[in-house]
């Protein structure tokens, strides 16, 4: 299905990442957003509030992030594509409802423009320290998808991808920007509407009598309905059976909760999103994501100029983590170097996947700016020895 031309601002623009993300939501078909302003994410919904009256839709500034993160889910069950936008402190407040979206398999998008933390931290400066929170921040076992753009262009492209994946897998998708990418202005090319692929909601073809809201299809993902179409349905955060009614037995818990993770398995393996370069014959592979991947790219180039066989593995989907790919690489490289704007988060996943077959070297940074490429270079050169 192609994008609705009404939401597509076709052309060549000079946009920052936040604004490009907003255009991505509109191109993806989002017609509802709820949010509570917080630096450095506000520009996304500020632009949405300005654009949506001409496209047709609704933005509500809610009383807080808890309200915003549940209002979007009401909109989704009413048939809309919806999202919210926040940064660290607001992301913390949204955790309960991220769990609710996972449990109720509500397709929606949470944009987190990461800033330095913990707590109020560095409101106007970048970090990548919410990566584990994105995966594990809500209680219980569940799965989510997290995408990490490294440019305003990708803020546009991956926002559309985020909505498409949310619909395909019926999961909340985390779009993990950082302040640097969010506030960086570059050329953004927005194609014609018929050049943008949109995954529509998987509405059931069954009759109201036959339909069951949480009955998995062949891919492990259940089809949906929307309010007002004549289907009686019940959505609850309680453990529920395929009909959607509370059923708090051990069997149901195991069946439902396991499926919420296993339905995402393809994204950890054959359908993982990553960008790789110079992996053939590499001694050292730099694993990075978001803004850090650009700085790391510079370090990789400098290392290669010095004759070091350095390769690139950029995570585009940080979650599910592409463990199988890292495991395969671990068997044939000396070391992984993992720079990130935190004190060591995704590096733990690399280490887990590498399982001792290759050295794993973190290049940590507490946030507030990006790495000096020389620091990453030094780690690459040392790892290659």
């Amino acid at each position: 299905m192609h994008a609705d031309p009404k939401g597509v601002l076709t052309g060549v623009h000079f946009l920052d990442g936040d604004h490009a993300c907003c255009e991505g939501t509109l191109a993806a078909g989002a017609r509802f957003a709820a949010g509570y302003p917080i630096t450095p994410s506000t520009e996304v919904v500020e632009r949405f509030a300005w654009r949506i009256p001409t496209v047709g839709g609704l933005f509500i500034q809610m009383e807080d992030e808890l309200a915003a993160s549940i209002a979007i889910q009401g909109a989704v069950w009413g048939g809309a594509k919806a999202f919210t936008v926040t940064s660290g402190p607001g992301f913390s407040l949204m955790m309960e409802h991220i769990g609710y979206a996972a449990m109720t398999e509500t397709p929606c998008v949470f944009v987190n423009v990461q800033r330095g933390g913990p707590s109020t931290g560095l409101p106007t400066l970048p970090a990548q320290a919410d990566m584990m929170q994105a995966r594990w921040g809500s209680h219980g076992d569940y799965g989510i998808i997290a995408l990490c753009p490294n440019s305003p262009q990708e803020c546009f492209d991956l926002t559309i991808q985020a909505f498409n994946l949310a619909e395909e897998f019926r999961v909340p998708v985390m779009l993990m920007l950082d302040e640097c990418v969010g506030h960086m202005t570059e050329k953004v090319v927005i194609p014609e509407a018929d050049g943008i692929n949109i995954v529509p909601r998987r509405f059931t073809h069954k009759s109201p009598e036959e339909f069951r809201l949480f009955e998995p299809q062949a891919d492990g993902v259940p089809d949906m309905v929307k309010a007002g179409d004549g289907y009686r349905f019940h959505v609850t955060g309680l453990t529920h059976d395929e009909r959607g009614y509370p059923n708090m037995t051990v069997d149901t818990q195991d069946r439902m909760v396991r499926r919420m993770q296993t339905k995402l398995a393809p994204l950890a393996g054959s359908r993982a999103f990553f960008e790789a370069e110079h992996l053939e014959g590499a001694d050292v592979v730099v694993v990075s994501y978001g803004i850090t991947s650009r700085v790391a790219q510079r370090a990789i180039e400098l290392a290669r100029q010095q004759g070091v066989r350095a390769g690139k593995f950029r995570l585009i989907s940080a979650w599910p983590f592409p463990a199988a790919h890292i495991a395969e690489l671990a068997a044939r490289v000396k070391a992984f170097v993992v720079p990130e704007l935190n004190l060591g988060q995704m590096v733990n996943e690399v280490e887990r996947a590498a399982a001792g077959k290759a050295a794993v070297i973190p290049v940590t940074h507490a946030g507030g700016t990006v790495h000096n490429p020389e620091t990453i270079l030094k780690a690459i050169v040392e790892a290659a020895r």
Partner: protein, 200 residues
């Protein structure tokens, strides 16, 4: 392959249009020419007022590192911005000042400095608010980093339709002032600083 990379900082008071000036310069290269441009801004926690600063990187290749390290070009519209940022200017770089707002005393060796009374020129057009675009026009004349026509298109593309005419006038005025200055300097084979800045 040799990268052609130019780092630019534009700084002044909040409200002078620092960010828009930077956006125009970036847009000219990224959209109206075939180069790459990355613009970032320094955000303080305060909502408005105070100092404002933007960074633009222009390059023939995709830009990886997002921030400037040492600017090749520094455009300043306030004394505070000049004092704070002039020490970081690269030797051989270019300093561009709003000459009635900035008193130049010292800057790194080998720097070429050019001043323009942008606020006064903008006032002659009836609107002080376009001083930033006068600065961009002047920048176009003294740096030659983008074709004047690309910058002109970027100006038109960056302001509301009702403001286009005024902003293009502002650009032309700054450009004309800069062009005349460059001719004068070449005729006298002069050190730019002496010719353009009232030091003292």
């Amino acid at each position: 392959m040799q990268r052609m990379l130019t780092e630019i900082r534009i700084a002044g008071f909040g409200g002078q249009g620092v960010i828009l000036a930077a956006a125009v310069i970036g847009k000219a290269t990224a959209i109206f020419e075939s180069g790459h441009a990355t613009m970032t801004q320094s955000f303080g926690p305060e909502a408005r007022g105070g100092s404002s600063s933007a960074q633009v990187i222009l390059s023939s290749e995709p830009i990886l590192y997002p921030y400037i390290t040492r600017p090749d070009i520094l455009v300043v519209m306030s004394q505070e911005a000049y004092t704070r940022f002039s020490p970081e200017l690269k030797p051989g770089g270019i300093l561009i000042t709003e000459q009635e707002l900035v008193r130049v005393d010292r800057f790194p060796a080998g720097v070429r400095a050019y001043g323009v009374p942008a606020t006064r020129l903008a006032e002659e057009l009836g609107r002080k608010v376009v001083l930033n675009i006068v600065m961009v026009g002047f920048y176009a004349a003294v740096t030659h980093l983008a074709a004047p026509d690309s910058l002109r298109k970027a100006v038109a593309d960056s302001v509301p339709p009702a403001m286009q005419h005024l902003n293009l006038q502002a650009f032309d005025k700054g450009f004309a002032y800069g062009s005349e200055l460059m001719i004068k300097l070449s005729e006298h084979d002069n050190d730019s600083v002496v010719a353009t800045l009232e030091v003292g």
